[in-house]
Symmetry: C2
C-alpha cells in the first residue's frame, strides 16, 4: 500500500473551471503541501473520469502523493490510482476490498461512531468525518459535531480526518481533537492562490492543532 499521509487531504472539484485551470490548481495545491489528493467526479462518463484520473495521476506521482478516486473502484483500478474513497452510498468497503486487493488504500466516510466502527471493521484505511461546518460542496449533507468527531477518533485506530467547510480561520474549533488531518475542497480549490491557500491551511493545522509540520 502507498504511504498514507492524511495531514492535508485535498479533494478536488472540477465543475467550476476548465480542465487546464483544474490541473493547474491541483498542481498548486501539491506545491503548497497537500499530502493526499482525491479526484471526485459526479457528472462525468466513465471514460471522461478515467481520462481525468490518468492525467491527474501523472501529476500526483511526480509529487510522490497518493491519488484517491471517489466512489469508482473500476476507475481507481484502471487508472493505477493508489486508493478509492467510499461514501455510505458507494460500494460497501468489504466488497470493494475483494475486488481491489490489499494494496489499494480504501477510505470511508463516517458521521457516527457506529458507522466509523463498521468501516474500520470492514477494512477502511482512513476515515473522513463531517461535515463539521455547512459546505457548498455537498448541500444536503448532515453535520457532525466536534464531540462525535472526537469520539470517532478515540474509537478507531486508523487516521481520522475532519471535513466540511474547513479553512485556516475556522479550524480552531477542532483544537484538542486527535484528528490525523484536515480535508479541504473549496478553501483550496476556489482560492485566488491555491498554493498559498494550501500552505496556509497546512501551517494553521500544524500551529493550531499540532498536525504535522509544514513542508
Amino acid at each position: 500500500m502507498a504511504k498514507l499521509d492524511t495531514r492535508l487531504y485535498f479533494i478536488t472539484d472540477s465543475t467550476f473551471c476548465d480542465e487546464e485551470e483544474f490541473f493547474a490548481r491541483v498542481t498548486a495545491a501539491l506545491r503548497g503541501g497537500a499530502t493526499l489528493i482525491q479526484l471526485r467526479e459526479k457528472e462525468r462518463s466513465s471514460r471522461e473520469y478515467l481520462t481525468l484520473a490518468e492525467r491527474l495521476h501523472t501529476i500526483t506521482q511526480s509529487f510522490g502523493v497518493p491519488l484517491i478516486i471517489d466512489d469508482r473502484v473500476d476507475i481507481a483500478l484502471a487508472s493505477g490510482a493508489e486508493g478509492v474513497h467510499l461514501g455510505q452510498s458507494d460500494l460497501p468497503i468489504d466488497r470493494a476490498r475483494q475486488i481491489c486487493g490489499s494494496r489499494m488504500i480504501i477510505g470511508a466516510t463516517a458521521k457516527t461512531v457506529p458507522q466509523a466502527l463498521e468501516a474500520y471493521k470492514n477494512g477502511a484505511d482512513y476515515l473522513g468525518v463531517g461535515a463539521i461546518y455547512p459546505t457548498t460542496t455537498k448541500v444536503k449533507t448532515v453535520l457532525t459535531s466536534v464531540d462525535t468527531l472526537a469520539d470517532i477518533c478515540r474509537a478507531v485506530p486508523i487516521p481520522v480526518n475532519a471535513i466540511g467547510g474547513l479553512n485556516k480561520d475556522n479550524i480552531d474549533i477542532l483544537s484538542g481533537v486527535p484528528i490525523a488531518g484536515i480535508c479541504a475542497v473549496s478553501a483550496i480549490m476556489k482560492a485566488d492562490d491555491p498554493e498559498k491557500a494550501a500552505r496556509e491551511l497546512f501551517t494553521a493545522a500544524a500551529e493550531k492543532l499540532g498536525i504535522g509540520q509544514a513542508v
Copy 2:
C-alpha cells in the same frame, strides 16, 4: 467465460416501475426465452446498483442465463455478474479487460465498421449495433443503417446483435443480415405481458430471420 447466447438479449429498464414489478418483469422475460440479460442503471448510486445487480443475479442464475452489467466494471465484479457492457463513453475495452480478467464477458457498442473492428481488436466478446430504429430509451442516439449492420457482421467474427426500437413486427428489415440476435428493451420491458412479448420476439426472430429456435 459463461456460455454466451445473444439470440434474445433483454436489456432492462427499472425507471418506470417499482422494484417488485421490475424483478417480476425480468423473470417473465426469462421465462419467455431471454438468453442474455443486461442490467442498465444510469441514475442510481453505486450501492443501489450493486444491490439490484445481486438480486437480479440470483434470478438469472436460476435460469442459467448470464447477467451483463452496463458500464460499471466494479459493479460487475462485486456482484459476480458474468459480464459487462461498455459503450463508447464507458471504460475502453482493453482497460476493462485488464482489471476484470479473461473470464468476464465484455460487450461493446458499435455504430460503424471502424468502431466494430476496434472493439473486436481490443477484446470485445460481442457487439450491440444500432440504433436500427429510433428509440425512446436513448433519445439522442444516432441511427445505424441495416447496410452498416450487415457490413459489421461480415467484418468481425464475434456475435453481432441489432438494437434500437426492435419488436416482433418490425424486424423483417433485418432479413438476410447475419446477426446473432436481437436486443430488446421496451418491447419486452413495457409489454402488458413481458413473458409473451419475449416469446413472440424470440419466435419472430427465429421464423423471420433464422435466429436459433424457440425454447
